[in-house]
């Protein structure tokens, strides 16, 4: 089965470490990802606020480009690691299928651009592929440095598991936990797995955005997490980059590494820090801390 890959704007920018580590890990699992040629912005949430149809049209172009790669197969998988891209592409796919009104307007527009879309793309998240197609068993076989003793708070964020996804439980998702356990890590039991990180509010109404992030970080810290594992570039950014400001705003000390789950996979696979973009983190977690068969704090 072949996998097409939709990076989205963030994975080429603030989320570069996500792309680096994701590609490396999938390569190691012998499931290389092929980047969708000439992809465009998914439309994201901001675009939705201006023109819904244009937002759907943007997604539709990506879906059409992906479908053109399908060949003779029944469908093709398009992998979108960014939670916002994943949600928006998934939503466009479902709305194009369920609302004839939308189809009636999008199809002629695609046609005008020399494209067409029949609906044979499956939009999927890497967590889904890893937990359900590849499986914990295959992942654990590649582990060279088990993450023994590392307490991971799996944080899914809001847009991966709801409302259009069907690969995991919307209230208590477990796919990332499965992956982390396969790496030998311990996963934290906590109630804020899918709580909103603040999204773009950290850039717009900062006090409000930061409050949402702070609640998540404080809870992870209280419960003794060593690291928060994320699956979205915006969650990662919000939770990592404002820790100092949160500290002074709430008179608290927040010092919590926030890594992409794929970086933790790479570390456990014994890959080089640099290849995984560890140097791109504000609060790093290093492979040297994993030497000697167990995680060393500090």
């Amino acid at each position: 089965m072949s996998y097409l890959y939709f990076p989205g704007c963030s994975l080429k920018g603030t989320g570069r470490a996500y792309e680096d580590s994701m590609l490396a890990v999938f390569q190691a699992l012998e499931t290389p990802l092929e980047e969708l040629e000439d992809w465009n912005c998914c439309g994201a949430t901001a675009y939705m606020a201006i023109s819904e149809l244009k937002a759907f049209a943007l997604s539709a172009r990506n879906l059409a480009l992906a479908e053109a790669k399908k060949g003779t197969a029944d469908y093709i998988n398009l992998i979108a690691p960014c939670a916002a891209c994943y949600l928006v592409l998934n939503k466009a796919n479902k709305y194009l299928r369920d609302y004839p009104d939308i189809r009636k307007k999008i199809n002629p527009a695609l046609d005008a651009a020399g494209l067409s879309y029949k609906g044979t793309v499956k939009v999927r998240h890497p967590l889904d592929i890893l937990a359900n197609d590849i499986g914990g068993e295959r992942i654990s076989r590649l582990v060279k440095k088990p993450l023994k003793g590392l307490k991971v708070a799996c944080y899914y964020g809001c847009q991966i598991v709801r409302p259009y996804a069907d690969f995991d439980n919307q209230h208590n998702p477990t796919s990332m936990n499965i992956i982390m356990k396969a790496l030998g890590a311990e996963t934290l039991d906590w109630p804020l797995k899918t709580r909103c990180c603040g999204g773009s509010l950290t850039g717009t109404v900062q006090e409000t955005g930061m409050r949402l992030g702070y609640v998540i970080l404080r809870e992870a810290q209280r419960r003794g997490a060593d690291v928060i594992a994320t699956a979205c570039p915006l969650c990662q950014f919000n939770l990592e980059c404002y820790q100092k400001q949160m500290g002074s705003a709430y008179n608290d000390k927040i010092d919590m590494p926030v890594a992409y789950f794929s970086q933790l996979m790479g570390l456990a696979f014994g890959m080089d820090d640099k290849k995984l973009g560890i140097n791109r983190l504000f609060v790093p977690i290093k492979s040297s801390q994993l030497a000697g068969g167990a995680y060393v704090r500090g």
Binding site: C9, T14, A46, E52, A60, P163, F282
Partner: protein, 208 residues
């Protein structure tokens, strides 16, 4: 309370817009609006309701009662982070998030969105970048956002920006797709939802 001409604390029926509910219900995702039983689950789930001027449940009730102006000029829809917590828990399948989006679009279209309020500025900036390049660049997006809504804040954030830049996480060069004509044909073919261009010029001037 928004300072609008003709604002009265008590509403008379002639202040309301009885067609508003139908208008919202006719958008994709708005179809279950009339099924709402006002249970309040959405407001309870919403991580932002404590900061909203009207909670999501109340917005739904106000839409149904025709409080057009109040809904469209509220901060609620702009504070909505599209986290979908409300929508997945709603016992009546009301797609509250989609309704919030519809309110945002109408507010921009009717010129009642707060013009320097950073969220609507962000949405417009984003729109313009994608329109011309097909992709966005976060560094430029954030820079323009601060310049337009709050230049002082740009300075305060400079040290974080520098750090990100040194880590190779932002650049200010612009990403662009190759087949831009294809994209332009596609977007051009969608009859514009009577948005912006003209109005946008005006608000950009204001922002300066």
């Amino acid at each position: 309370m928004p300072d609008l001409p003709g604002w009265r604390k008590i509403k008379y029926e002639e202040d309301l817009d009885p067609g508003f509910a139908d208008e919202i219900a006719s958008i994709p995702g708005g179809e279950h609006l009339f099924n709402c039983i006002q249970c309040g689950t959405c407001s309870g789930m919403c991580p932002l309701s404590p900061e909203m001027d009207y909670t999501p449940r109340r917005i739904i009730a106000m839409i149904r009662a025709g409080f057009r102006r109040e809904v469209l000029s509220s901060y609620t829809c702009w504070l909505c982070a599209s986290c979908y917590s409300c929508a997945v828990e709603c016992p009546k399948n009301v797609k509250i998030t989609d309704i919030m989006y519809a309110a945002k679009r109408l507010a921009i279209r009717e010129g009642v969105a707060p013009s320097r309020f950073p969220i609507s500025v962000l949405a417009r900036e984003f729109f313009n970048q994608v329109h011309s390049k097909g992709r966005t660049n976060e560094g430029r997006l954030i820079m323009r956002l601060y310049m337009k809504s709050n230049p002082l804040k740009a300075l305060k954030q400079a040290s974080m920006g520098l750090k990100l830049w040194m880590q190779g996480r932002i650049s200010i060069g612009s990403e662009s797709i190759k087949r831009k004509e294809e994209l332009h044909k596609l977007l051009g073919a969608i009859e514009t939802e009577r948005m912006v261009q003209k109005r946008d010029v005006v608000t950009h001037k204001e922002a300066r």
